[in-house]
């Protein structure tokens, strides 16, 4: 059975093995002892913390295969970004240059440096072992976070963002970077991403353009990829959008990939999820797939179950109850895995 749970300190070996599969572009999880131990440690701290206002906590969860104890994936939530280091985006805006008498009406797209998402929560660090990319494991891994958000809203901001990787070509070249960033950073795209991934973003403040950029001054290829996601990221974007995330005009300063956002309470899985009472039985197979989670912070669990409908009492089998660490009569949170209607 596949179950989501908070990361543990004895996950180190498994997590390191997972990190070996991520590839160089995935800067937030690399096979580097310091980084892996640091991640685990800060997540443990987050779950321990008594939170009054969301701070720099990072909550990390693993997807465990209960049959063999393997860690098949990792996902995370940052409680609030941009608190100790500025959080940068370009905001895409419009400036109209218009002369009625001449009949000239130019709407020019502009990119303005912003730290508008300061204090927002962020869904981050999503990686699923290629061996497990089947059977809705991806959806469970990603959406289990919404169950946690629904259960512990005070630990997070009212708003949440997700950064989407921007467009780059087969050779890893970002046309946006070539048209804009390179002039200011004097380095290759990959190097800039790597430097930013290390955590100290001082160099961004030091080197980046300070005035708004008129996009009509950029090469066509750069203009075209503003707000465009990398092909590999399209499914993730579609999934988040189906949950209510939307692009409100913010893009990455390096590759112009979109940052999508929503109010936590507007996420479908948060809004539609509700409590139900557990009835342990030989639950009938079949029905629709639901996310189900317990209500515990440090022993948070989330898994997929099949239910015949949205009821206040749910029948689950003993194995599921064990995986969720719930007993007869306990409350669980349930929500349909996917939206019934595509709005």
């Amino acid at each position: 059975m596949m179950v989501i749970r908070p990361i543990h300190s004895d996950d180190y070996d498994e997590l390191y093995a997972l990190a070996e599969k991520t590839g160089a572009g995935f800067t937030s999880l690399q096979p580097n002892e310091g980084q892996v131990r640091g991640k685990i440690y800060s997540s443990l701290e987050a779950f321990e913390k008594v939170v009054t206002t969301p701070g720099e906590e990072t909550y990390l969860f693993v997807l465990e295969d209960t049959e063999n104890g393997r860690v098949a994936g990792i996902c995370g939530i940052e409680a609030a970004v941009g608190l100790s280091q500025p959080w940068y985006n370009y905001r895409v805006g419009t400036l109209v240059h218009s002369s009625r008498q001449l009949g000239v009406h130019n709407a020019v797209r502009t990119l303005t440096l912003s730290n508008d998402h300061t204090g927002y929560s962020e869904v981050c660090t999503l990686f699923l072992d290629p061996d497990y990319r089947h059977s809705k494991n991806g959806s469970l891994l990603s959406k289990s976070r919404f169950m946690f958000l629904a259960e512990f809203p005070k630990r997070f901001s009212t708003h949440i963002i997700a950064e989407m990787r921007g467009y780059s070509d087969e050779n890893g070249h970002s046309p946006f970077w070539e048209g804009l960033g390179r002039h200011f950073f004097s380095m290759d795209f990959a190097d800039a991403v790597y430097m930013a991934g290390l955590g100290d973003k001082t160099f961004i403040a030091e080197l980046m353009p300070r005035h708004p950029i008129y996009t009509n001054m950029l090469p066509k290829e750069s203009q075209e990829v503003i707000g465009k996601v990398h092909d590999n990221t399209l499914p993730a974007r579609m999934m988040l959008e189906s949950e209510g995330f939307r692009n409100e005009g913010y893009v990455d300063i390096f590759d112009a990939g979109p940052t999508i956002e929503t109010r936590v309470m507007d996420i479908r899985a948060v809004r539609e999820s509700h409590y139900a009472k557990v009835n342990i039985s030989d639950a009938p197979e079949g029905g629709e797939t639901y996310l189900m989670s317990n209500t515990d912070l440090k022993n948070f669990r989330c898994t997929l179950v099949e239910l015949s409908g949205d009821h206040n009492v749910v029948d689950i089998n003993p194995e599921t109850a064990a995986a969720l660490q719930v007993e007869e009569g306990d409350a669980v949170r349930v929500v349909r895995l996917s939206s019934k209607l595509r709005r």
């Binding site: 240059h97 008498q101 001449l102 130019n106 048209g179 200011f184 100290d200 001054m217």
Partner: protein, 345 residues
């Protein structure tokens, strides 16, 4: 004889011809009858006005006194940017440094400014192509300086002169194509025309308000910043001999350089000799081509005569052309020798 005098209403038809010949390349000389009439009107009014602080605009014509033909025009504005805004781009550099990464990046920007508002300006220098030579050019251009020397109190502390920017082989301005076109959505010639007839506020409505990063301009546009058109080298040379120099302001349309000077430092001002006119045959002294003007205002005249700097004597015809009699005050200054001028213009 070729004589400089203030423009007058009867010059309108000839002025229109000049404006057409100039092909719209001069902002201040649009082929637009009403505006040209206003330009003459402004000169006539400026020659009557008494309030020294009020902005004035003077235009002078170069006339062949025999054929009555107009060969060229040149102008002075005493205070720009007062009745309507005067915009330039100011070039400035910013260095972005990251000690951590050992990177030091210098980025140039162009910012819209009104730094030059309130200055005096030399404007509208146009000489009909068939009469282009170094002496005519010098007379047309420097006659203004002799006039200014006489009426210094009308002028501002700073004086500027704009040089047209670089054009490519097809006659297009790489600067305009790379920048202005995106915002103005029109041809450079139309923008120049509209600015020339002082069309209400279109520059303020359409120009980019935020600084432009120079590296985002096309390569040829970057190379053209602050460079004058190659065929106006003599114009630039003459201004530089007067002490004008480039100090980081360029034209917002074609990126051509604006040259500036502290008005009191104009070289001609120092070189002028004030003396009195006398008629006579020239003696045996060494004679040099010189600019000679009367000391008038509304009846200002200037011409080139070859005479002895220390004992200047004029012919009766020259005296008549200058509108003066014996013992009337005159100004004299030797012509510059412009080596390259006849070749290029």
């Amino acid at each position: 004889m070729l004589v400089i005098r203030p423009i007058d209403y009867h010059d309108l038809p000839a002025l229109e011809r000049l404006a057409v010949v100039s092909g719209g390349s001069l902002t201040t000389l649009p082929a637009h009858r009403e505006h040209l009439n206003d330009l003459i009107g402004a000169t006539r009014q400026s020659l009557r006005a008494e309030d020294e602080a009020h902005p004035r605009s003077f235009h002078f014509v170069l006339e062949n006194t025999e054929s009555r033909e107009l060969l060229g025009i040149s102008g002075i504005e005493t205070r720009i940017g007062v009745t309507s805004p005067f915009y330039s781009y100011r070039m400035a550099e910013f260095t972005h440094t990251s000690k951590q990464l050992q990177i030091r990046n210098t980025v140039g920007t162009l910012s819209i400014c009104q730094d030059l508002a309130g200055s005096s300006r030399l404007c509208t220098l146009f000489l009909a192509p068939e009469h282009r030579n170094a002496l005519n050019h010098q007379l047309l251009s420097r006659a203004r300086l002799l006039f200014m020397a006489l009426h210094r109190s009308l002028l501002a502390k700073r004086c500027i002169a704009e040089l047209q920017g670089v054009l490519d082989e097809e006659g297009k301005s790489p600067f305009w194509e790379s920048l202005g076109r995106h915002f103005f959505s029109m041809e450079l010639s139309r923008a120049t025309f509209l600015a020339g007839i002082n069309f209400k506020g279109f520059i303020a409505s359409l120009m980019p308000q935020q600084p432009i990063y120079i590296p985002l301009l096309g390569k040829t546009a970057q190379d053209s910043l602050g460079k004058p058109r190659s065929d106006i080298a003599s114009n630039k040379q003459l201004l530089e001999m007067e002490g004008f120099s480039f100090s980081d302001h360029i034209d917002i349309f074609d990126g051509g350089p604006t040259l500036e000077i502290d008005t009191d430092q104009i070289a001609t001002f120092q070189q002028i000799r004030r003396t009195t006119a006398s008629v006579g045959r020239h003696g045996s002294d060494e004679r040099v081509p010189s600019l000679v003007s009367n000391c008038g205002f509304s009846d200002y005249r200037c011409l080139i005569a070859t005479l002895s700097p220390l004992a200047p004597q004029l012919t009766t015809e020259q005296m008549a052309a200058l509108n003066i009699g014996p013992d009337d005050p005159i100004q004299i200054t030797p012509c510059h020798s412009l080596a390259a001028a006849t070749k290029t213009n």
